[in-house]
Symmetry: C2
Subunit: 318 residues, 2 copies
């Protein structure tokens, strides 16, 4: 497999939507051509296990092990460990599936034995037959903090415990300014073979901004002078998963392709938007690719990735 | 519930057979009357989890959560976490059930957060509604080591990895001489209400001797001048579970009630043997109680415990 430093494409990604797009794109590419830089700002410890929600979602999507219907976690999952934890009165607000748990145990044990998160992630990918580079954005602890009308909340407190109900006023990425983009991610973005960079259809605030908050990332991307294409996570103003629509509203960002493009201004030079948002293309200051963006299975994931790839390579007239 | 220091009965116990006997005995007693001192010489770390096989077997038996047929682990267990670990190439020689895992996670997390093993065990018992005191023999690491024709092996290496095939020449209890019987166990054995001490039908070498190897335990038991009753783990020379028969042979101990009684000489003053071994009673130098000792369900567990209890209390003529 081609090493990360000669990757042809890089995706910056969050979890669910990002995983789906990444899996679609990887289907179209050769072994090692794709490097995915994954948000770790939502990572946390739970019952002594290191949980990396976005890395796991991307990994499961790439390995074809994800639950398509639920949208997160493993397919054909069971919840028997949780049952015991419930009996024992342990914290059970975070859904730990039995199959999923195997990955958490493997990773946590690896980290405790001195492996880095990137090393463990690579080993997991190798074992699961994944032929893309899945790279955590950094090894250092970075934590996304939401400033809400109910106080400062970590992502899990906001997302799982508070069910996205608090109104978000601002976000910060604790620790981001003091760390660096992962060496392997840097190598991929510096690859001489690099043809384009994609920003996955993930939540900009929760999934992409933590990566962009690492020192020098925006500059490194800009310095390449390559197509940088965002896939809008919105369809008719709504995100398919998660609290994005509510956050856009409370943060004062328009829930349109233009809002997303504005958010990524100076970074991206093209945006992929859903066919149902076709009318919004005229409000954009950057090139747009209009295509179905709803990913309901392998075929639609591939089709979206194909459209984004062709758009990036200039074969589609924006 | 009556505290451990006013326990009426103490059982020294290993895992499976000990758990069954303990559960039978507890059925006959009031809340807190029973204190079980459990072997921890087989405890080990696996994938970052602290595993305490005997504590778990006793706990599951007392809570009615054990798998009666398999003889260990949880009832109606699933193995999905193991499946993932297998996919990832992790060590999977130790069978980690999904339900079982919840207990390991809970305990490991508790220990990492500064709780003692006894505290975690008490909390587990409380949550599971167990009204006996389940006490680890010590908080300190003690490890049963088997000197075999294939070298020195830890219990798990001998039992699980080598499937009890190596020939055992001797055993030692690493760390035992440098530690103490658990304070709570000591309190139970010193209880002013104590009426009898039982040695569960467990493997003497693997399960009971580690407890007896702790400094002062034999002396403390002897000092009480109370009935000390062993329940023979043999039925017609065979143990129902585990490698005891093979070990007796290779260690030169007769596979009879007399062999077991000889092994516990100076410690016990009565032994409970199976009806099928009735003829062996005449070879004993101590009092014997002859009763069915095969525990196949709640009724036979209770009946054995009842016989042992009556024997201990002198109501049965030996």
């Amino acid at each position: 497999m081609r090493p990360a430093e000669s990757a042809a494409f890089v995706v910056l990604s969050g979890g669910v939507g990002g995983g789906k797009f990444t899996a679609g794109l990887n289907d179209l590419l050769g072994p090692g051509e794709l490097a995915v830089v994954v948000n770790t700002g939502d990572d946390f410890d739970h019952l002594g296990l290191r949980i990396c929600p976005d890395l796991d979602s991307v990994t499961y999507a790439l390995a074809g092990l994800g639950d398509e219907k639920r949208g997160w976690g493993r397919d054909e999952e069971t919840w028997n460990c949780m049952q015991t934890l419930g009996m024992l009165g342990a914290e059970d607000w975070f859904a730990l599936g039995d199959k999923d748990l195997g990955l958490h145990l493997f990773r946590t044990h690896g980290l405790r034995n001195g492996s880095t998160l990137a090393e463990v992630s690579s080993e997991i990918c190798r074992r699961l037959g994944i032929q893309a580079h899945v790279i955590p954005m950094t090894e250092a602890p970075v934590q996304t903090i939401l400033d809400t009308d109910q106080g400062m909340l970590s992502f899990q407190d906001y997302f799982v415990k508070s069910r996205c109900e608090p109104r978000v006023r601002a976000l910060s990425y604790r620790g981001a300014a003091r760390t660096d983009l992962h060496l392997n991610a840097r190598a991929a973005l510096r690859s001489r073979n690099l043809k384009a960079i994609f920003i996955a259809p993930s939540n900009p605030f929760l999934s992409i901004d933590p990566i962009l908050a690492l020192p020098g990332v925006r500059e490194l991307i800009a310095s390449r002078g390559l197509p940088v294409i965002a896939i809008s996570p919105l369809i008719q103003g709504q995100a398919l998963k998660g609290p994005l629509s509510k956050m856009l509203e409370s943060l004062g960002v328009p829930d349109t392709a233009a809002g997303i493009a504005q958010h990524y201004k100076g970074l991206v030079n093209g945006i992929v938007i859903d066919v149902s948002d076709q009318a919004q293309a005229q409000d954009l200051e950057i090139a747009a690719c209009i295509t179905p963006t709803r990913m309901t299975g392998q075929a639609s994931r591939r089709a979206l990735a194909q459209a984004a790839l062709e758009f990036a390579m200039g074969r589609v007239n924006a």
